[in-house]
């Protein structure tokens, strides 16, 4: 899977409250509407500016906080192709793969706002076209590759009639 787009840079500790805040709780059953507010409390302009394929690039512990799957879902709905971070909170990471949003752990200090990036999810390669460098991401665990390749956990379950996570 190849993704090409522009980097939107965020700092450390972007929580699920930044991504999908509790004050918009009533929009949780209206995901397209909620997606118009994605990451609003970290960058009020983000949802207006993001283009299909663009990347969210963050620091440490991205997605900490709540179990709300709405967070990765609306990042995906907003058109974001992949989220890169130095580390992810556990539940967010698992949710992202479940809903089919690619997430990669890599050294994001080598990416600045508006850099043009090209990402090969399979190889875990992040090419920073603007800077002319390649950053190697940590490979996704095998289980997660299987789920992501099936298009998320629901599709995985439908396709195999249950969990099919053995090698």
């Amino acid at each position: 899977m190849q993704i090409k787009g522009k980097a939107f840079k965020f700092g450390d500790s972007i929580s699920t409250d930044h991504i999908a805040p509790g004050r918009l709780f009533h929009l949780r059953t209206n995901l397209p509407e909620l997606a118009k507010h994605v990451l609003e409390d970290a960058d009020p302009e983000f949802a207006k500016k993001v283009q299909p394929g663009d990347l969210v690039v963050a620091g440490k512990n991205f997605g900490l906080g709540s179990s709300r799957e709405h967070a990765p879902t609306i990042i995906k709905l907003a058109g974001v192709g992949v989220v890169l971070a130095r580390s992810f909170a556990r539940i967010f990471y698992r949710n992202a793969i479940n809903v089919g949003l690619p997430v990669l752990i890599c050294d994001t200090t080598q990416v600045d706002q508006d850099d043009e990036l090209e990402v090969d999810i399979g190889k875990g390669e992040v090419r920073n076209i603007t800077k002319g460098i390649t950053i190697q991401a940590k490979p996704l665990p095998d289980v997660m590759v299987k789920i992501l390749n099936d298009g998320g956990l629901l599709e995985h379950f439908r396709k195999h009639g249950g969990f099919a996570l053995d090698a």
Binding site: S15, R23, I91
Partner: protein, 417 residues
Amino acid sequence: MGKTIVEKVLSEHSGVDAYAGDIVVAEIDAALVQDGTGPLAVQHLQKLGMEKAAKPERTVLFIDHAAPSPRKELSNAHKILRNFAAKTGAILSEVDEGVCHQRMVEDFMNPGEVLIGADSHTCTAGALAVFATGMGSTDVAIGIASGKTWLRVPETFKIYVTGEFKKGVYPKDLMLHFIGMIGADGATYKALEFCGPTINAMDMSGRFTLANMAVEAGAKAGLFNSDETTKGYLEERGRSDKWRPVSADEDALYERVYEIDVSDLEPTISCPHVVDNTKTIKEVEGTKADQVFIGTCTNGRIEDLRVVVQIMAGKSRNPDTRLLICPASKQVYLQAIEEGLLAKLITAGAAIINPGCGACVGVHAGILGDDEVCIATQNRNFQGRMGNPEAFIYLSSPAVAAATAIEGAIADPRKYL
């Protein structure tokens, strides 16, 4: 080789000899969703054509985050849960029942079991030696329908606690101190196992507070031995037959061991906007507070309300500070009435909120104004958490919160004890 609590519980539930790092498919004993995550879980199951619950009597759907509903979109979301319960026989926890995690331990969970919940603080039940962890709507939907989930068995950090708490210092202070020490991502993907003499002497309420906040260090679960205290808790709730001892083997392998002596621990506060931004009371004393909020799955139990009454008895809140108190569950609410606590709190100037999550998660009942400061007993102080990204949330024990309500600024509770 010996096993940690997590390795034991997940081995039993997967039928394989599981150790940290293994991927297992485990049987789950119980599952929960709440009104923010449940509607999406139900919609996923509808899409899969699997609108069923493998264990309806232990599938609990909570209407607690927006209870009673403050707006029509949420009322409609609640209908999705009510319909699913009617169709599948799953248990519906209505608007009068309170916060999911408090009810799960009061009424549903037993030592050695596995619980998955579409709420990050599902780890609370770890205090009863349950492998309890938070997941998203998709994982829990599939867990509800199939009775199973996949898990990577986590490595465990052992937290060995010694010493006696000084007057005015509580398990909440210990947990805030610990998170400040290892960081909000210090235990990401790991299990925490709390043990040692201080933990053995701790009541269930304190253990729930610690287990509840395991996720604030990034952990997947926070576990305790099942001992005589656990047994007593189950006995009081008519479930003594469900008690069994659970503990790690002597030769279990831990990734890390932390030793903490609480003897010199001070009241500890977590400052905006991340939980690991902790300071001792001395460093923040005097910070003006517009609102004090006491409640939630972290510190909304009867033991917490008793401490608040102990500090506030015969006193009133500062006229410039609002005091909101929300018992975590109906059981806590009723007991607080029976013990006469609520009358005292109301007299002291508290507004009592019906059991639920509204203020904590910023949905209703306690939303902060711009630039306002709130001292809260919950587990999170993220920007926007209480409904307004322009506000500031400090986390503390119920004792600090009560002293703050009296003075109108962050205050040391020890002078009132």
